[in-house]
């Protein structure tokens, strides 16, 4: 599935926080309909890379392009409108609103903009896609943890993004929920969506990703199929810690 057109590309993307280089000279491409795993140990710069792509942070150096057009100088709102949507590592919902209203936010202001009854109908469709249509009128405070993650995913899907960024969407789920979660993302994958998946769960990486980019202390140390990178000695060393230390 990696022969399609390039949708997103990073060239020399770098983010410095004072003296700390959180993301160092990252280069990679994401092609259409591809699920790219972005993996690496804690603190290796995965979320920061997503933040650079979504416009939450501006890169210190380098460019990020969507279908060949640079987007790294744009605001997060403009980037969202151009079709890059994300979930957050710590789920962010709109606490004063119902489940349906949360999802409507994506339908009304995202890449493809809807309003009125059309937005509601679309939001409901997204809720049934994530299996939550029966809780449409619930308050988000009443939801279980996995259901809050479902709402956030539905909100993101409602904007009909070209690229979906999922930051550890499967983290913190119990084994049953994890199975459901993996099945849900598999469904998105089968629909042909383009996804960057930041993940620690190895089973999920193996079964969902076409390709993986591995980061360690801000730098890309490997790229390839899940089998290739997970058997790469340098990757194993990065995950297990340096033996020489």
């Amino acid at each position: 599935m990696t022969t399609g057109a390039t949708v997103l590309s990073l060239r020399g993307a770098t983010k410095r926080f004072g003296g700390l280089v959180a993301v160092n000279d990252m280069d990679f491409d994401v092609t259409e309909h591809e699920v790219l795993g972005l993996i690496g140990p804690n603190g290796s710069g995965k979320s920061t890379t997503l933040n650079l792509i979504s416009g939450a942070l501006k890169p210190t150096e380098g460019t990020i392009s969507l279908r060949g057009t640079p987007i790294s100088h744009l605001s997060a709102a403009d980037i969202a409108r151009r079709g890059i949507a994300r979930t957050f590592q710590l789920v962010r919902l709109l606490p004063s609103m119902t489940v349906l209203e949360n999802v409507r936010a994506g339908a009304v202001f995202g890449h493809r903009r809807r309003w009125g009854a059309e937005a509601d109908a679309h939001a409901l469709r997204m809720l049934s896609l994530v299996g939550l249509d029966r809780r449409a009128n619930a308050h988000v405070g009443e939801l279980t943890y996995i259901d809050t993650k479902r709402v956030e995913l539905a909100r993101v899907l409602a904007s009909e993004p070209k690229v979906l960024l999922l930051d550890e969407w499967l983290a913190g789920l119990n084994p049953t929920e994890l199975e459901e979660g993996i099945a849900l993302i598999k469904r998105l994958r089968d629909e042909g969506r383009t996804i960057i998946l930041v993940e620690h769960v190895m089973d999920a990486i193996r079964s969902l990703c076409d390709r993986c980019v591995v980061m360690s202390t801000g730098t890309k140390i490997a790229e390839g199929t899940p089998e290739q990178v997970l058997s790469d000695p340098e990757v194993i060393r990065a995950y297990l810690g340096d033996d020489d230390a």
């Binding site: 969202a80 709109l94 936010a105 202001f109 904007s159």
Partner: protein, 313 residues
Amino acid sequence: MSLTKRDWQSITLSAVLLAVAACLPLTGDAYMLSIGITIAMYAVLATSWALFSGPTHYISLATAAFFGLGTYTTAIGIENGLNYWVTLPIAAILGAVLAALVGLATLRLSGVYFVIFTLGLAELVRQVVTWGQNVSGQKGLYVLTDITEVHIYWQLLVLAGIVYLTGWAIGRSRLGFALRIIGDDEEVARHSGINTSRAKILLFMVSGATAAVVGSMLAPRYIYIEPALAFTPMLSFLVVIMALLGGTGRLWGPLVGVIPFTLLWEAISASFPNQTTLLLGLSFLVIVYLLPRGFVGLIESSKRKLREREAFA
């Protein structure tokens, strides 16, 4: 967009209430009329303040700056031969422009900077006007028109009607929805594709323009205006207190705070004219501690309790 039966009910009810309020001058009681003007003035100011501050949670203390700007626009306009009615739209435009400038400068910053900046703004504008008058050698300005108290009262009621319609329309619009999202989580708002600065600035402009027009409408009442009167910080604080007392969660919330507070304040400032600032601070504390969501919150939580009790019965 179609209107539901409930929409028509609220519109009819509001129109009837406005019509009843418009009959107040028929009583012929000058004191009642004067209180009516004060209530109408604070109702418009607090409602338009809450249009912006309710959803965004940004506390603006700039009401006096916009109000004074409107008052001076009308005073200077009339002195230079402009028709009174022409000065109202000019004040609205100037108020909106000032709000846009303040918004561009501050709304990207966090809420705390915004509060301090808006408080400073009213003071700054007052100092500039005072300085301008010193240079030109005047202390104040006379506003001589044939507009009577009754006219001012009716004008304010019309403005109140416009503000309610505007607020209602915004509440049903994309802009209103965007502001609720911003109030809940600005990061989510940005990542959903909302231009958060633009939404906040637009609403702040509506609020600023309205306060400026109120200042214009009140100018003929004062007859003689000077900076200390037109730009009094007390006005900004009173508007915030009344809006919070009523509650900013509903369009009609501020009005529920304005009516009792104006009456109470009338009595307080008559009995303790020298302790008003102290009492203002006290009422602020009492409201924030005892009624954090205002009367609106109180009404809604008692409604909910009632429903729950019925459900169990």
